[in-house]
Symmetry: C2
């Protein structure tokens, strides 16, 4: 796979476009590069994707509403932790830890000394079977992945296989693992999948909304100081003709002013499910004091991380199909084999990107003292 | 029951408060009266609730985005229709037609000459059994209600008993009844119920969100010109410190301007479910051209309508308990029996009211040419 990701592939590249949001303009030290993705018929220029192992240069802006100072449990097992580094959670539950973002994150956190548990129903693998799809990279079973990780590093990642929509199962995992933080990737994450038919639209909204509700209730009931880091999407905001702010915007209207949730304009049942999640999470932060960080990140690309490079059985998945293959990954594979780029929509959308090496961002989220915060993440990542 | 609703009862009354929204200030002919509801310990002034049979004086403001002129089927059976009245749908499906708003609406529309079908799972009656609650007014079974309606008026209302979360059932009702319009009340409608425990929170969001998704898919699949009139709630907006606009607000931010969905701030899992619905509906209007009117109405009160007065077996339900008894109905009953008013929250919320005779508002919604419109409804209703 490595050669495919370093193969030259071409898409229309533009650095002169208006930034998506004011934060980019306000950032003097980071000069972001934006893509304008043309249709498959558009002429395009040469562009080389440089793999996934470089450290991303990243912009993270957060709106934080601290209520009290958080004092998470110190990780005694993290020998790499600097003395000046803030305290951090010790035990991290990665829901959806067998998936594309989840696997990279679980390994990264385990490597950094966290005690990690993966919670996953493995339904993502079933989708492949049902739709006749497969990862371009060969991926081992979750059991072999974890055995390999233990043999290579000596570190153990616990595994709980089940559906978080089943609250009894989720309760047992919380009582057994006692997480200090939950990183929640456990959602149906494809917009095209959610738009295939009614069954899949309903599945997506049910699975994502009820699963997240259950996580919120589990935190409230069993681990009320647990920090939830939830994967949202940049797509929650849609493409408004004003700068996108982090979660909230101050509006003056007819002589009065208030700071209100930034309007959302999702464009698929999947994106809508993330909006529903964000609204539910924000409410529980207010009502119950849940500590949550809602990440509205850009498109993730790449496949290799420091940890997945350690052994071939640790290899992450790479989807290039029309349902689960996200934009840049899919385009690179298509370009490599000479297939026209399949751009959804009008091809005029401007979006930033995140390297799959995003796990370090969850470190940042852990250090947040927020009771409820929204973080928008973008990166220029050596593009 | 009538004597109860005409019994003097007292709540703190204020007409000097700042209106909730600019529309009231802009309305020269209608001087609205606002309540400030104090806690049960607050002193209150004398106030007489004048029953539910008067025609409400109502403010309806809509943001309408017409795309094409709608020409609904003319009702040939409506002998009361004025010649100058716009055309309207002929066949109306009332989902949740056995409930508080649904029953009054179904009878009103049937009386006006529409061909009406009630679709209801009757689960609202099960909630009463499970929680040990009951309507203050004796209500007949849905079968006896409809038999009575036929014997009194000669008009037939069709009945489909089933759960709209079951798409096969809903599909059959659409194929059988072929509605020109759907009035959708078929949701779990109590905020306190949704906050009792996890099961009921999850039930509320699943039932409401999936049910509405199914209705949208049924319209798309079987009756793509069908007009959806959906009951939302004023509570979707929360209580922002700016004027509430109808669905959308124009925001100028950092030198650019866009008209975006008005920010929502729901305060219970029930209210959140309505926000989720609104987002889903707005998306399908854009994506599929669904004709929908999303009503964000104030609190409904009262029990008598012209139609329910025709026979005691047609009597509507009146809930006064802490779960399903809405504010004004509950307060009146509490005042009548000398029970302190049970005010939720801080007691400082300013909210308008809608007489249970709201069915005529659905007439207004039918005449909308909108592809997607939000209507906020309030009333002064002889208060």
């Amino acid at each position: 796979m490595a050669h495919l990701l370093s193969t030259s592939c071409s898409i229309k590249l533009s650095s002169s476009h208006r930034p998506l949001s004011q934060p980019f303009r306000q950032c003097p030290t980071k000069c972001l590069t934006f893509f304008t993705l043309g249709t498959s018929k558009s002429p395009f220029k040469r562009f080389v994707l440089q793999g996934g192992t470089q450290q991303a240069s990243c912009v993270v802006r957060a709106t934080v509403a601290p209520i009290s100072q958080e004092t998470p449990t110190q990780s005694s097992s993290d020998s790499r932790q600097k003395s000046s580094e803030p305290s951090k959670p010790k035990r991290v539950m990665v829901i959806g830890g067998d998936g594309y973002c989840g696997w990279a994150t679980a390994l990264h956190l385990s490597n950094k000394g966290y005690e990690v548990a993966i919670v996953d129903s493995l339904i993502r693998r079933l989708f492949d079977q049902q739709l006749g799809l497969d990862s371009l990279t060969p991926i081992a079973s979750i059991h072999n992945r974890l055995r390999c990780w233990r043999s290579v590093t000596g570190k153990t990642i616990e595994l709980y296989i089940g559906d978080i929509c089943d609250f009894e199962f989720l309760s047992e995992t919380f009582k057994s693992f006692e997480p200090d933080a939950v990183v929640h990737f456990g959602e149906q994450r494809s917009a095209p999948y959610s738009m295939i038919d009614r069954n899949r639209a309903v599945f997506t909204q049910h699975n994502n909304v009820i699963g997240t509700l259950n996580v919120l209730f589990a935190i409230k009931e069993f681990r009320d100081q647990c920090h939830l880091v939830k994967l949202g999407t940049m797509g929650e905001y849609g493409t408004p003709n004003i700068d996108i702010e982090e979660g909230y915007i101050t509006i003056t209207h007819n002589g009065r002013t208030d700071t209100l949730p930034f309007p959302k304009q999702a464009s698929s049942f999947y994106h809508l499910s993330k909006v529903h999640d964000s609204n539910n999470i924000a409410f529980t932060c207010k009502a119950w004091g849940i500590r949550a960080t809602d990440l509205n990140q850009g498109v993730v690309y790449g496949v290799r991380t420091d940890e997945t490079e350690m052994h071939e059985e640790l290899c992450n998945r790479l989807d290039y199909d029309g349902v689960f293959g996200t934009a840049l990954n899919r385009f690179c594979v298509q370009a490599a084999v000479g297939h026209p780029l399949t751009v959804y929509g009008k091809g005029g959308q401007v979006r930033p990107w995140l390297n799959n090496n995003i796990a370090f961002l969850f470190h940042i989220a852990f250090y947040s003292t927020s009771l409820s915060s929204f973080i928008n993440m973008w990166t220029n990542d050596n593009l």
